[in-house]
């Protein structure tokens, strides 16, 4: 089966479910606004919007709608990849996945693409309206750039997410509760809501090892620099991010193979 056929079939599956469950689609649209409201409302009770702007150098509404949008895009990737081995195990489709001619690793790489495409497009309902309203044409262009960056952040996280999912399954067994700790922890380490430059050194060092954290950082530079970060900064961050994503490739491939071997050896539990 070709890669495109695989992507097409995953798309039909994901979008078909979303059309059936319109409530889920509505949640996707509403989430960036709900999170932005929650953080700004509670945050302004601790201090003020002016303090935020002085400290971060960006409009808090634009910052948090971007952060919430990045959160949605990245979480889509993380969830699809992390849950996949557990989901297949639980519903009994793992034997079919393993006996399929399509390598499991390739399947794991492809699974999150439909949701990634959808969440990035949903930037038209969150980033675009707010940026255009507050900053006009320049804001519109910035929001389009941010949508692209969010998509890239999600995409570059794939290999690392596969490595985490398979390693946890290998070492501790399939546990959705364990993954539910990994999900928010990853959001902290990526600096989605809290810039990593403000984190303690030890946390920052771990953050540097995550491919997408550099793209998230670039998002911040874009916001602070109003769409025009320095070329050297862009190249450094994109380069570091891509290099890390590629470097995790062989590791995530071997972890998938190891998990596959383990599953074949032990059999599927019911």
């Amino acid at each position: 089966m070709s890669v495109f056929s695989l992507i097409k079939s995953e798309m039909l599956l994901v979008y078909g479910e979303l059309i059936r469950r319109k409530q889920a689609l509505f949640t996707y649209v509403a989430y960036p606004y709900i999170m932005t409201f929650f953080i700004i409302f509670v945050g302004s009770s601790v201090g003020s919007l002016e303090n935020f702007e002085a400290r971060v150098g960006s409009n808090p509404f634009l910052f948090f709608i971007t952060a919430s949008f990045n959160f949605l895009v990245i979480l889509g990737i993380v969830d699809d990849v992390l849950w996949s081995p557990i989901y297949d195990d639980n519903i009994g489709t793992l034997p079919y996945v393993l006996s399929s001619t399509t390598p499991w690793f390739l399947r794991l790489l492809i699974i999150p693409i439909p949701r990634l495409v959808l969440t990035v497009i949903l930037g038209f309902t969150s980033l675009v309206p707010l940026f255009t309203y507050l900053e006009g044409l320049e804001g519109l262009l910035t929001s389009l750039l941010l949508m692209g960056l969010a998509g890239l952040a999600g995409l570059l996280l794939s290999t690392f997410a596969i490595l985490v999912a398979c390693s946890i399954s290998m070492l501790m067994g399939e546990s959705w509760r364990l993954l539910n700790i990994v999900r928010p922890l990853m959001m902290i380490l990526l600096g989605v809501f809290y810039p990593r430059v403000l984190m303690p050194l030890a946390v920052r060092v771990i953050s540097y090892l995550l491919p997408s954290s550099h793209v998230v950082d670039l998002t911040l530079y874009t916001l602070v620099g109003k769409g025009t970060p320095e070329v050297l900064t862009v190249l450094t961050l994109l380069g570091a991010s891509t290099a890390l994503a590629v470097a995790y490739g062989p590791l995530s491939y071997s972890s998938t193979k190891s998990l596959e071997t383990k599953k074949l050896r032990e059999g599927v539990k019911t």
């Binding site: 409530q23 999170m35 929650f38 953080i39 409302f41 509670v42 945050g43 302004s44 009770s45 601790v46 201090g47 003020s48 919007l49 303090n51 935020f52 002085a54 400290r55 971060v56 808090p60 948090f64 952060a67 546990s175 509760r177 364990l178 539910n180 700790i181 928010p184 922890l185 959001m187 902290i188 989605v192 809501f193 809290y194 403000l198 984190m199 303690p200 946390v203």
Partner: protein, 275 residues
């Protein structure tokens, strides 16, 4: 059956509920601890950016303390929603509630058995929150300014949340309300009623709404007893309302609970699904 026999039976039943929860949640399942860590991590993810709003002269420890107390109150609301209110629906779904009713035991047996679990859950959860805030910002500087007031506010908060759980639980067993709505209520309630934010910092209209509910008074008194906020009304008035309003709310919720229960007996269960 004599009164003392009935009390003995009640205590024995509550003990059985407690033991079975300890075995199921604490000993057999790792989910209890993993769930705690997960919740603390999610809250830290959302609360961390709040520090970016603080005044330059406000020490980080004060913000960390604010966040700790805010998370503590939020988690108290959460246990009342999920451990107490939602538990009734969950028991109904699992067929446990039917057995409790048929056995002639009081439904409150379940609550008495669950409360020690809830308290240990809260203590553990707050310890994890403390560690997380210490690692990511700075350790919260908790100071008890007025111990008596702290005790009063905690008791008052407990009564309000128990009354709220009774209203929520009885509504859930007597109607077909879905889990998604409860999820929404569990997020909006602590924000709208001044659970997370000091009343003085709420916008005027929101403050008025918060003051109309019984939730705002114990939460505000709790923050005041820890020296984190100045009250928006005289202390004596706040104390009087914090005693009277929760008591009235508890009486109302009990009456409502009885009414919903008799409605359930008369009309049967509306839905048997969780979500």
């Amino acid at each position: 059956m004599s009164f003392s026999d009935r009390i003995r039976l009640f205590i024995n039943s509550a003990k059985t509920v407690f033991v079975s929860y300890v075995k199921a949640e604490l000993l057999r399942s790792k989910g209890f601890f993993l769930g705690l860590i997960s919740m603390a991590t999610w809250l830290a993810t959302l609360m961390l950016p709040m520090t970016l709003f603080r005044e330059p002269e406000t020490p980080a420890s004060l913000v960390s303390t604010y966040m700790f107390v805010g998370i503590a109150i939020f988690q108290a609301y959460s246990v009342s929603t999920w451990d107490w209110g939602w538990e009734l629906r969950y028991s109904l779904f699992g067929g446990v509630l039917e057995n409790v009713i048929i056995s002639g035991s009081s439904i409150f047996v379940m609550y008495v058995g669950i409360i020690p679990i809830t308290i240990s859950w809260l203590i553990l959860s707050l310890s994890i929150t403390y560690v997380m805030l210490s690692a990511l910002i700075t350790p919260p500087a908790l100071q008890i300014v007025n111990p008596l007031l702290l005790l009063l506010s905690l008791t008052s908060l407990m009564i309000v949340l128990f009354a709220y759980a009774m209203i929520l639980g009885s509504t859930l067993i007597a109607s077909g309300t879905s889990g998604a709505i409860v999820e929404f209520v569990s997020w909006i309630l602590p924000i709208a009623t001044g659970g997370i934010t000091p009343l003085a910092n709420l916008p005027h209209t929101m403050r008025l709404i918060a003051l109309l509910t019984p939730f705002s008074y114990p939460a505000e008194l709790l923050r005041h007893s820890l020296g984190l906020t100045t009250l928006i009304m005289p202390e004596e008035t706040m104390i009087a309302i914090s005693i009277l309003y929760p008591a009235a709310f508890l009486a109302f919720s009990y009456a409502y609970f009885r009414k919903q229960l008799s409605k359930l007996f008369k009309e049967g269960v509306k839905t048997a699904s969780l979500w």
